[in-house]
Amino acid sequence: MNDERTTKTISGMDSVDTTVLGADEIILNMGPQHPSTHGVLRVKLKLDGERVAGSECIIGYLHRGVEKIAEHRSYQQFAPYVDRMDYVAAVSNGLGYCEAVEKLLGTEAPPRARVVRTILTELQRIASHLLWLGTHALDIGALTPVFYCFREREEILKIFEKYCGARLTTHAFRIGGLQYETYDGFEEDTKRFCNDFAHKIDEYETLLTENRIWVGRTKGVGILNAADAIALGVTGPVLRASGVKWDLRKAQPYAAYDQYEFDIPTRETGDTYDRYVVRMEEMRQSRRICLQAVENIPTGPIMARIGKVLKPPPGEVYHSIEAPKGELGYYIVSDGTTQPYRVRVRPPSFINLQAFDKMAKGSLIADVVAIIGTIDIVLGEVDR
């Protein structure tokens, strides 16, 4: 196992030299095969007793060369691949990719498509946050919320299934708009879900928000201040919990977000509890957006007029969206052929994971689990 050579290291700003150990220090490997590293992340911990003296994230156990694959596929052919990066938020991935290619082509999806995309993406955000909440709570030892979260997530997946036939890796959108018209009852389903969901989210909060143990486990754990967060390029709820009001849906609106009212929740401390609160509030806001959007879906075509064979003009484009986990950017270079010359993905989990060492230093082993959970990583996206 010579993974030192084959895997990349993305330790934080000051990486640990694990060869030099103090008298009371041990090296503990957490992962790649560990119940709470959310996949195949390997965290090498230098422990002083139970305190983390240094850490190193070793990644690459799920590397599939997604970016390289793009160079040998046509633009349309590559779209399903992006679903498999952040596989718990496939719809968001697809949205980012489709919009990036559309930008490259100099076209735009029709209004109806944009609204439907917004609804589905916000539902996906709720689903992704629900999965995060369940697993994060499970990591911290609360066994029950995960089942409640999955119960609600199931409703969202049912909507996806009814819409495009797939539940997880949906490939819901096409470059230029949508392939499928919404099914009969789409609006009702979404509305029903959103109305029920309001109570459900209160239900989760009764289990956790004011629970003494939960607060004890999350407050003051894994603090990341705003300056560090910006320096490390952290985005999404993790950034907003540190007090930076930055959300691409407001900052550079895409899809149909400019039409809806919603708030960007922020917190001050930037600890695990704050990130929890921010995500909970984000679910409420997503619900709000969905309700607004579904009330008033414009009629009209769902597909822009683009040819069957896509040949974007030579050039490059960077387009990013606010995925559930943070800024998801696609940088695409076209050489005028049917296949992209280069695709580079800026995955939020990968960048956010950089902050791990900063957050974990000086905390306890148990906190490491909470911190991995709170960053909300998906290894499919980190490793690509």
Binding site: S36, E50, G141, G216, L364, A366
Partner: protein
């Protein structure tokens, strides 16, 4: 039959018989507590739980046992083979041995020791070696960290729980399990009501001592994979598991005996008779309850999907009917027999209620962090327990001096302890770095 056994051995026949029964039944009971746990968990989490093996998963424990017995037996290369073999045995033996002084009803007890309670505490505290040695023998980081955590946690909460029990001993004046129950019968109140804080301290202490969530840090799966059991598999692993569940029954048994009136029937002062008979309503309750369960299973039986499951469900109904019959029959038996059988019923009912509380807590709360757990033990429970002991002591003296009623004298104590508890809880906030540095 009587003349076959020499009279000198006669007094030992029944206790040894119980011993055999306990060793035979306990693993099965532990298996069914696991099933109960899974079913309760499923119910709280909006799902069904095991449904496949037997009707409603009723045969699941047996299937699990067979699987575990036949599983591959792995001893890691670097492990200390002798200790690896020895450690789970220590855990199980000590967990089983603790039953010897437990009084399951007035009739079922292996030995009524003068030091009964201390014997149980001492023996179950030895189970710690099974954990520490097992974790050490595995030669794995996770195992050893889990073992050390476990040991630190066990010893901390042993102190707290022990101090919690003292308050009951002040009232009972004996260490014998039978005498403690008798004292509750004589004083007409379960000690859990007289010293609620003693009960509370013991409840928390017993959760931590049995490594149950939210105090299951030694085997916190999200951090230490499986703690001291990481390297164990198959039957050895199931021995640890058995020990854990046996310990759960033990602490539930101690709590039942000391705080919940042991085998005493609830409503001891209620003596309404069923018209026309000499049987009290509450005495008839156990038989009626089991009869209800029997009828319910009989109703479920035809609804089972497969023929074999129908049969098994029918057998369950027959079993419950049999138990109901015994419980009903006991009503007409001599007083000793009746108390023995019904005492065992009430004792088990209370033990299961206590275990249910354990499960309920497990599925509701997140897990403590290790330092938080230690702080809870050392900075909250232990001082609270000391205050509680002193308070109960003062209350008893007041009662003796001023002839106050048993409850009246304990109310001010309980309120004072509550005050101290709130004060301590307030101070329970995490210590800042500056304070720690100051203390150095």
């Amino acid at each position: 039959m009587g003349h076959l056994i020499p009279p000198s051995i006669m007094p030992y026949v029944l206790p040894v018989l119980y011993a055999v029964v306990i060793v035979a039944v306990l693993p099965l009971l532990a298996g069914y507590i696991v099933l109960m746990e899974r079913k309760v968990m499923a119910d709280m989490q909006a799902r069904l739980g095991p449904m496949r093996v037997g009707p409603h998963g009723l045969l699941q424990p047996i299937a699990d046992a067979v699987k575990l017995l036949l599983k591959e037996d792995i001893i890691p290369d670097k492990a200390d083979r002798l200790m690896f073999w020895f450690a789970p045995l220590v855990s199980v033996t000590m967990a089983l041995l603790a039953y010897s002084a437990l009084a399951i009803g007035p009739a079922f007890q292996i030995a009524d020791l003068n030091i009964g309670l201390l014997f149980i505490l001492a023996v179950s505290s030895l189970g710690i070696y099974g954990i520490v040695l097992g974790g050490w023998a595995s030669n794995s980081h996770y195992s050893l960290l889990g073992a050390l955590r476990s040991a630190a946690q066990l010893v901390s909460y042993e102190t707290a729980a022990g101090l919690g029990l003292i308050s009951v001993l002040l009232l009972a004046g004996s260490l014998s399990m039978k005498d403690i129950v008798q004292a509750q019968s004589d004083q007409g109140v379960w000690f859990g009501f007289s010293v609620p804080f003693g009960f509370f301290i013991y409840l928390v202490g017993s959760i931590a001592e049995t490594n149950r969530a939210p105090c299951d840090l030694p085997e916190a799966e999200s951090e230490l994979v499986a703690g001291y059991m990481t390297e164990y598999s198959g039957f050895r692993w199931s021995l640890y598991f058995l020990a854990e569940y046996a310990n759960m029954i033990i602490v539930a048994g101690i709590a039942t005996t000391l705080f919940l009136g042991g085998w005493l029937r609830p409503g001891a002062r209620y003596h309404e008779h069923i018209p026309g008979t000499g049987i009290e309503w509450l005495d008839a309750l156990p038989a009626l309850l089991t009869l209800g369960v029997a009828l319910y299973s009989l109703k479920l039986a035809p609804q089972q999907p497969v023929k074999i499951q129908k049969i098994v469900m029918g057998l369950v109904a027959v079993l419950c009917l049999g138990i109901a019959g015994i419980l009903a029959g006991a009503l007409f038996a001599p007083a000793g027999v009746m108390q023995g059988i019904h005492g065992a019923f009430w004792f088990m009912a209370k033990v299961f209620a206590y275990i249910y509380a354990f499960l309920w807590i497990r599925f509701t709360f997140p897990r403590y962090r290790f330092d938080q757990l230690m702080r809870l033990g050392w900075r909250f429970l232990i001082p609270l327990a000391l205050v509680n002991v002193i308070g109960v002591g003062v209350a008893i003296v007041l009662r003796q001096q001023f002839a106050w009623g048993p409850i009246v004298s304990l109310i001010p104590t309980t309120l004072a302890t509550l005050g101290v508890a709130m004060l301590l809880a307030k101070d329970d906030a995490p210590v800042s770095e500056a304070q720690t540095a100051d203390g150095e």
